[in-house]
């Protein structure tokens, strides 16, 4: 559950960066959203997949 909570927090940070870039489309937010934001989102989903697969293999 701890890993999933970390994934949830990473998702929220990634979403916040993406929403910021869409509401304030200037170079810094857009670059952060397309790099850090998407990296956080990908990491969050990877954690989720890891937890679910681990559960299935038990």
């Amino acid at each position: 559950m701890t890993l999933l909570r970390i994934a949830a927090v990473l998702t929220l940070i990634g979403l916040a960066l993406m929403v910021w870039s869409m509401l304030v489309p200037t170079p810094l937010p857009v670059m952060l959203a397309m790099t850090v934001g998407q990296a956080f989102g990908t990491a969050a989903f990877a954690l989720y997949v890891f937890v679910v697969v681990r559960e299935l293999r038990r």
């Binding site: 949830a8 998702t11 929220l12 929403v19 870039s21 869409m22 200037t26 857009v30 934001g37």
Partner: protein, 209 residues
């Protein structure tokens, strides 16, 4: 702001996906449910599907936003260029193109984009270089100095003008100067703007020696 968002369906879809995803994730963080089959499905939507949809639509919205003049003008050194483009009384080449409905708010991109096969990627890579230059060299440069020192890296190519002014149109060729220089313009021997017949697109940035 609401009308601006709802006038852009891709942006509205991205924000809706982000909102829905945030709600599901917050529900998980606040309620701390057991990891049942239903919880896994909710998290699949909240951590996987909806953020992916947000990223996809958000990227499209962001790429479109980077074509707009307000994006280019968000760095202070571009303020005179942005203001000139928005001045309804300006007669510069840039401002006259900004008043053309075909370009409108995307007039910077329309004239400074690369129109080759990989044009969009090349243009965006060039934009990254602009960010690099701005952050490292021009962030604190006064406007007056920036106006004197900032210049495009390569001579403005006629191919960019010819993306719209194809040189095939009879009306264009009816201008004697165009007809007489047709081959040289197409070869790029005579420049359309800058040092050529129509002059600099941003003449206020050219300081007399």
């Amino acid at each position: 702001m609401e009308s601006w968002i709802f006038n852009n369906p891709i942006l509205a879809a991205a924000l809706a996906c982000a909102g829905a995803s945030a709600l599901l994730v917050l529900w998980f963080l606040v309620r701390r449910p057991a990891l049942s089959h239903a919880t896994k499905l909710v998290l699949l939507a909240g951590i996987g599907i909806l953020p992916l949809a947000t990223a996809t639509t958000g990227n499209v919205a962001d790429f479109e936003a980077t074509k707009e003049r307000r994006f280019c003008g968000s760095c202070h050194v571009m303020t005179p260029y942005k203001n000139d483009s928005e001045d309804p009384h300006s007669t510069t080449l840039a401002a006259r193109h900004a008043r053309n409905g075909m370009f409108g708010d995307a007039n910077c991109y329309a004239c400074h984009a690369d129109y080759g096969m990989y044009g969009t990627v090349v243009t965006k890579l060039g934009g990254l270089r602009h960010v690099y230059e701005y952050v490292l060299h021009y962030r604190n440069t006064p406007l007056d100095e920036a106006r004197r020192t900032i210049h495009i890296r390569k001579p403005f190519p006629n191919a960019t003008c010819m993306h719209c002014h194809s040189t095939e149109n009879p009306t264009w060729n009816a201008v004697p100067e165009h007809a007489s220089l047709l081959d040289r313009v197409r070869r790029g021997d005579v420049s359309c703007a800058s040092e050529g017949c129509h002059g600099p697109a941003h003449p206020f940035s050219k300081v007399a020696p």
